[in-house]
């Protein structure tokens, strides 16, 4: 444990390079970035047709104000696309190295397993953050280009200026990004269990999907507040006249609980596992 601080920095930089230098990661990010762009084009083409103003969430409002494209895009990506891509990167973090046989070489480096795990966790988290912020940025740019950015009408019927509207959109993106931390931890844990990355990826995505299914069953109302995905859509709080921070805080607290449990499980597993490949 007495390694120089620089070794962890080197490790993290190398993991980030490895992750973001991969064609697979670039393709995932490009795919996610295409969602707001596609949405903007579709809405732009359809805005004078009979289908204008229809659609779930905020899709109907996008044509009036490009700012809403940020919400509409995140609203569309959050249930499945984001968990899927987070599952792919987090699930691959350890299992991918194990499958290609590079894990045991990593373990011969003068760095503890805990540091290796921490570095992998941060790299996976960086991907989740990058994905959400990229969607938001592309949505803001294409929303502005296609529909213009103006004062924002909140769900409560109040209107806020453009600067505050942008600030609130940033809050939404940040909340969504932080909401994915629990899933990153779950993915990392699955990744320490297997040498087959696809298994860990699928399992992580399934956890998110199962969680949202359980969230719809009224019989399980007692456990709903603690489900991984239950508070994901609370970002709507940023669109109300008075943002209730305690609602957002409890959402973050639930993520913290999932992170604590699954990161410690991942650590327990990874530091005791026999690495043979």
């Amino acid at each position: 444990m007495s390694h120089a601080r620089g070794s962890f920095g080197r490790q993290l930089r190398s993991d980030l390079r490895l992750l973001f230098g991969r064609p697979r990661t670039i393709a995932l990010l490009a795919g996610l970035a295409a969602v707001p762009l596609l949405l903007a084009i579709v809405l732009f083409v359809a805005q004078n047709s009979g289908m204008a103003g229809q659609g779930p969430g905020f899709i109907g409002r996008v044509t009036g104000n490009g700012l809403f494209l940020v919400i509409a895009a995140l609203f569309l990506c959050l249930p499945f696309l984001l968990p899927l891509t987070v599952g792919i990167t987090a699930g691959d973090a350890i299992a991918g190295e194990a499958q290609t046989g590079t894990l045991r070489y990593l373990l011969t480096l003068p760095s503890s397993r805990s540091r290796l795990l921490a570095s992998k966790a941060l790299a996976s988290l960086a991907f989740a953050m990058a994905a959400v912020l990229l969607i938001a940025a592309v949505a803001l740019a294409s929303g502005g280009a296609f529909f213009g950015l103006t004062d924002m009408t909140l769900l409560s019927g109040s209107t806020v200026g453009l600067a505050e509207g942008m600030g609130r959109m940033f809050g939404v993106a940040l909340y969504v990004a932080l909401s994915l931390t629990g899933l990153v931890a779950v993915g990392l844990f699955f990744s320490t269990l297997t040498e087959v990355p696809v298994g860990a990826m699928a399992a992580t995505t399934i956890v998110a999907v199962v969680s949202s299914v359980l969230d719809t069953l009224p019989q399980l109302a007692a456990i709903h507040p603690y489900l991984l995905t239950h508070h994901w859509f609370d970002f709507a709080e940023f669109l109300r006249v008075e943002v209730n921070w305690s609602v957002l805080g409890s959402g973050m607290l639930v993520q913290l609980g999932w992170v604590a449990i699954f990161l410690s499980l991942a650590w327990g597993r990874f530091t005791t596992a026999d690495v043979t490949s």
Partner: protein, 405 residues
């Protein structure tokens, strides 16, 4: 490090202790939450039921804000309400709804019914009121005519507050409690139950029990804030269900203090559908002026909780076609219980196309066919629409209505 480790290592030294400790810590903090939220307390001075009722009715309205959860278990099919798109008052008829409440304690308030990605707001700003639904981007502006406004200016403050109160509203614990207590002397008995905690505040519990057994209402439990005497929770129990209250409206968090000015104002946002509604100011005798004269006054049978109201020549078809004039002016505040009155109002479409649902389909699904007509039966309210165009409504068992038809 691992492959050479002895097979039977001391468990307490294994890294697995860490996740186990972390998981237990999370579980403990999770389990301890509800214990703090609802424990019995015993620190408030003792009061008698009559003293408490007087204190509640005399309590000075407070500037406050908070979150209210409304839960209805009326025995209606849940699916009907979850299908509703966005936040809509009709969702109050089934399941749990969350509302956020702000009030200045006088005549300005905002109540917002929250949907996942939507909101239905009711803003009362002195003599004006607004409702805004984010799902269909429609704002409704309720105001008085110029003549009524002039008359309003001549009234004293108390009368003005009374007169302008709630052209539009969503149920909050205060309103439910006021209605329940209005009937205390004549038709109900009251007693004080053990003290408790609601929204982190110590409360008295007041139990209002109807003296008659002709009603569906078994008892109403009011939780009164020990300090301010403001009702923080109202549970209405039905005779049909002993396990849980049929309707519960409760603060889950509450802050006393003046809310920020921004919540009380409302300006219709650019580009919304805006509708103007001129509300008749009640005359001094409380009757509503003007509208509703086309209908015969409803026939009221019985008193107190067992009251049954009979509407004649009510055009149910027009009601279902969302023609609000079919209902305006009749049946204001005459049904047996507050909750029943609320439900009736929610069945009556107030806004042109707010529910996003076909009321005709809803009507067919909610009511059952009986020899006398069509019957809607819930745990707190029964409505019978007879074949010859009469509508009987009451917080009484369905059999009572059928016998009267």
């Amino acid at each position: 490090m691992t492959s050479t480790a002895p097979a039977r290592r001391n468990f307490l030294r294994s890294p697995w202790v860490v996740p186990i400790a972390v998981t237990s810590a999370v579980a403990v903090s999770l389990l301890s939450q509800p214990l703090f939220a609802s424990g019995d307390s015993n620190d408030l001075p003792d009061v008698t039921a009559d003293q408490l009722v007087t204190q509640v009715l005399d309590a000075k309205p407070q500037a406050m804000s908070g979150t209210v959860v409304h839960t209805a278990r009326l025995g209606l099919p849940d699916m009907l309400f979850t299908e509703a798109t966005g936040a809509d008052p009709i969702s109050l008829l089934g399941g749990s709804s969350t509302m956020r409440v702000w009030t200045d304690g006088v005549d300005r308030s905002r109540v917002a019914l929250l949907g996942t990605m939507s909101e239905y707001s009711v803003v009362n700003d002195g003599p004006e009121a607004w409702t805004y639904s984010s799902s269909n981007d429609e704002a409704v502006h309720y105001s008085f005519s110029d003549a009524d406004l002039a008359r309003l200016k001549t009234m004293g403050e108390q009368a003005r507050v009374e007169a302008t109160k709630k052209q539009a509203e969503l149920p909050t614990p205060q309103e439910a409690a006021t209605e329940a207590l209005a009937r205390v002397g004549e038709f109900s008995t009251v007693r004080v139950d053990s003290q408790s905690t609601v929204a982190g505040r110590e409360v008295y519990q007041l139990i209002v029990t109807p003296t008659t057994d002709k009603t569906l209402v078994k008892r109403i439990v009011l939780s009164i804030d020990g300090e301010t005497k403001i009702p923080l929770r109202v549970q209405t129990w039905s005779t049909q269900d002993d396990t849980a209250p049929a309707v519960e409206v409760s603060f889950t968090d509450v802050t006393f203090g003046m809310p920020s000015e921004s919540v009380f104002g409302f300006t219709a946002p650019a580009g919304v559908t805006e509708r103007e509604v001129v509300v008749p100011l009640p005359q001094n005798d409380g009757a509503v002026k003007g509208s509703g004269s086309a209908h015969e006054m409803p026939v009221v049978t019985g008193t107190g909780w067992g009251t049954v109201v009979e509407f004649k020549d009510l055009d149910v078809a027009a009601l279902l076609a969302k023609d609000p004039s079919a209902m305006t002016g009749s049946g204001e505040r005459i049904i047996g219980s507050e909750e029943a009155q609320k439900m009736l109002e929610e069945f009556v479409p107030e806004h042109s196309d707010g529910s996003g649902m076909d009321m005709g389909v809803l009507y067919d699904q909610l009511t059952t066919k009986v020899p006398e007509g069509r019957l809607l039966s819930t745990t707190l309210l029964s409505i019978l629409v007879t074949n010859d165009g009469r509508v009987l409504v009451g917080a009484v068992p369905a059999e009572t209505l059928r016998a009267m038809a």
